[in-house]
Symmetry: C2
Subunit: 343 residues, 2 copies
DNA sequence: AATTAGCACTCACTTAGGTGGAGTGCTAAC
DNA sequence: GTTAGCACTCCACCTAAGTGAGTGCTAATT
C-alpha cells in the first residue's frame, strides 16, 4: 500500500532529523520540531505503521526510530528536495577546474573539490585513455637502448614513458616512424589499434623489421600507462562521522578505500546506467560497504560516458546536499571537457 | 652519571618488553621473562633509579614503568642491536624495485615495500628533478595554440606537459629550437638554467622573438612539474597500533599526513645531515607529532643526497627492525639508481 | 654493602546494583 | 480519527565494592 500524505511528511521529518543529529528520533521531537499539526501520540501511531511497513526501525524498545535502508531509499526517490549549489559554489568549481589543461590535474582538482564541498569522502574515475583521440604519438631516441614514447590524447592526456629497446633506434628511423604514426594513427583511438590495423601498417611499410620493432615498443609503452585511474580524497571526513567512532569499522572501510581495484569495481557497478545514482547501505553488495551509501554521477564527452564521480558516506548522509554537489561536479567536468575539445 | 652494566640490561629488557606488549612493564615481569639473575626486588630498586634519572616513567603509581623519550633515545643510541634483513627480504626489495625504469614507479614501489616490511606508515621523498641531468628536452607542436613540452631527466624522470602558446609554433621552428636546446642544455641540470644561461642563449640565436617564446614556454612548462613529491603508504598500519585507539589522536595525525607540505618539511628537517636518523617523540617539534617517532635515511647518487625515505610510528616502535628496513630500502635505492645511471 | 623476602599500600579496572530519562504502546476520553 | 494520560521498557550514567598488578619500604640474609 502506498504511503498517504501524512505518513510521507512524518517519514521526511524523521529522516531529516536523523540526518542532522545521528540519533534515533522520537515522536515528541518530531511533534515539537516540525509543525505537522498533530500530537506526538498521533505521530507515534503513524511511526508504528511505518515501522511495520519497513520504512523505520528501532535500535531497541523505548528508543526512537531511525530510517531503514528502505526508508532512505524512499526518501531519496520520492521525498527529498535536492539543494541547489549556490552560485558562489558553482563559481568556485569552475575556477578550480578551469586552471588546468591536463587530465590528471583536472581530475585531481575535481576530487578535492568534491570532498571539500560534500564533507565526505570523494572518488573520481578518470576517463579511460583508450577512448580518447590520439593527437600525437612519437618515439624519441634517448640512447642506444632506450627510447621515449610520447603520447598525447584528447582530452587532456599527455604521457611519456621510457621504453627499453633491443637495438638502437636511429634518428632518421624514428622520424620515419613518427611520420608514419602520425599519418596512420592521429585522430584514432588507442582502442582502435587492433591487430587488423597493425597488419595493415605492416604491409604498407618497406622496412618491416623496423616497423615491427616500433610497434613492439609502442605496445610495451602503452601497457605501462595506467588505464582508468581512481582518485580519492577526503578520507578523513569519514572519521568525523559518529557512525565511525568504532575503529574496527574504520579499518574495514579504509582497507577497501586503499584498494584501487575494489574501488574501481564499486564505482563501475554503480555506473551501469548513466546519470546520477544512489546506492544505499545494504543495496551495496561489497563487503564492508553495507553501512555506507554511495552517490555517483557520470560525466560525458560528446554524449558518451567517459568517467564518473562519487561520494561515499554513511547511510545517514545528507543526500539532498550530496546529490547536488555530485551532479554539479559531474556537469562542470562535462562542460569543461567538451569546451576544451572544441577550441 | 653513566649507567652501569646492570642498569643498561634492565633498561634494554624493559624497552623490549614494552615494544612488544605496549603495556607498562613491572619488575616481576622482567625478573620472570628475562633471566638477569636478580630478584624482582633488586630490579625494583634499579627501576626507581632509572626513573629518577629520567629514563623511565610511570603512568601512575602502582603501574609498571615505560621508557621515556630519553629512555628510547638511549636505547636507540646505545642498546639496540639492529636486526639485519633476511636475504629473502633483500631479494624481495631488489625484485620489486628493479622492474621499473621511471622514477615515479620506483619511488612508489619503494614506499609500498617500506610500509609492507615495517608494518608502519612509510614516506618517501622523490629526488628533486632540478638536480638531475637533462637528457632530452623538446617542444612538440600540437596545434595552433598548444605545444607539448617533453623532458627526460636522469635518473628516471620522463615528463610531458601541454603548454598554451600565444602564437602557433611551426614544425621547422620547433626543430630549430629542439636542436638548439639539445646542444645547449643536454647534460646540464634544470637548476643550472639561470638567467645567465638564458641570456647567453638569447645572444647566440638569430631569431630572438622565437627563442624568447620558446624559453617562455619552457619556463611555464617547468613550473607545472612537481618538484619534490612526497609518497605515502601504509597509513592503515597506524590504526593497528594500540596507542592510536583514540580516534582524536588518529585524526590529528591523519591531518598531518594529508598535508604534503608539512610532511615534506618534517622529512627535510630530519634530513639536515645525511645517513640514518631517528627522531623520538618530543624531539619532534611538529604539532601532533610528539607521540610519534620517525626513522629516516637518505639515498644518494654519485655521493650526493638526492632524497629520503622514512617510517612513522608510535614512539614505541620496533626500532631494531625499522632501522634495518629503512636503511635497507635507502641502500637499495642508491645502488639501483647509480646502476641505472651507469648503463 | 648489596641483595632479597615480606608486607602494607596504591590505583586502575571490572562488576553489580541503582537511578533518571527518553521513548513507547495501550487505553480511555474527546 | 485524534489526543491525553499512564504504566512500562531499556539504555546510559553513576556509584560502590572487589580484584589484582605493581610499587616502596623495612628487616633479614649473604
Amino acid at each position: 500500500m502506498p504511503l498517504d500524505e501524512r505518513k510521507k511528511r512524518i517519514l521526511k521529518a524523521i529522516t531529516h532529523d536523523y540526518i542532522n543529529t545521528a540519533e534515533p528520533v522520537g515522536s515528541r521531537t518530531i511533534a515539537r520540531r516540525y509543525s505537522l499539526g498533530v500530537s506526538s501520540a498521533t505521530i507515534r501511531n503513524e511511526m508504528a505503521d511505518l515501522e511495520e511497513d519497513g520504512y523505520l526501525e528501532q535500535p531497541h524498545t523505548s528508543a526512537g526510530r531511525i530510517p531503514s535502508d528502505k526508508g532512505f531509499r524512499f526518501f531519496v526517490d520520492a521525498l527529498m528536495d535536492p539543494k541547489e549549489l549556490s552560485t558562489e559554489e558553482i563559481r568556485q568549481i569552475h575556477i578550480a577546474l578551469r586552471g588546468h589543461r591536463q587530465m590528471e590535474d583536472i581530475v585531481h582538482e575535481s576530487v578535492r573539490m568534491l570532498a571539500f564541498l560534500s564533507q565526505y569522502t570523494a572518488v573520481v574515475v578518470a576517463p579511460n585513455i583508450s577512448y580518447g583521440v590520439i593527437r600525437c604519438l612519437q618515439l624519441i631516441p634517448l640512447d642506444e637502448s632506450n627510447v621515449l614514447l610520447v603520447l598525447v590524447v584528447d582530452p587532456g592526456f599527455a604521457h611519456s614513458r621510457i621504453v627499453e629497446t633491443t637495438r638502437p633506434l636511429r634518428p632518421q628511423e624514428a622520424s620515419r616512424i613518427n611520420y608514419f604514426f602520425e599519418r596512420k594513427l592521429s585522430g584514432m583511438m588507442l582502442a582502435d589499434i587492433g591487430s587488423s590495423l597493425v597488419g595493415e601498417m605492416r604491409e604498407e611499410v618497406t622496412d618491416e623489421a623496423l616497423m615491427s620493432e616500433a610497434l613492439n615498443l609502442l605496445a610495451r609503452g602503452l601497457r605501462n600507462i595506467k588505464q582508468e585511474q581512481v582518485y580519492l580524497d577526503g578520507t578523513i571526513h569519514l572519521l568525523n562521522q559518529p557512525e565511525f567512532r568504532d575503529l574496527n569499522k574504520v579499518k574495514v572501510l579504509l582497507n577497501v578505500l586503499d584498494d584501487e581495484k575494489i574501488l574501481w569495481r564499486i564505482l563501475n557497478d554503480a555506473l551501469a546506467q548513466s546519470g546520477r545514482q544512489v546506492t544505499i547501505g545494504s543495496e551495496n553488495l561489497h563487503e564492508g560497504f553495507q553501512e555506507c551509501s554511495l552517490v555517483t554521477a557520470s560525466y560525458e564527452l560528446d554524449g558518451q560516458v567517459i568517467g564518473s564521480v562519487g561520494v561515499i558516506g554513511p547511510t545517514r548522509m545528507d543526500y539532498e546536499r550530496v546529490v547536488a554537489v555530485v551532479e554539479g561536479i559531474a556537469c562542470s567536468l562535462s562542460t569543461l571537457l567538451s569546451d576544451s575539445m572544441r577550441h
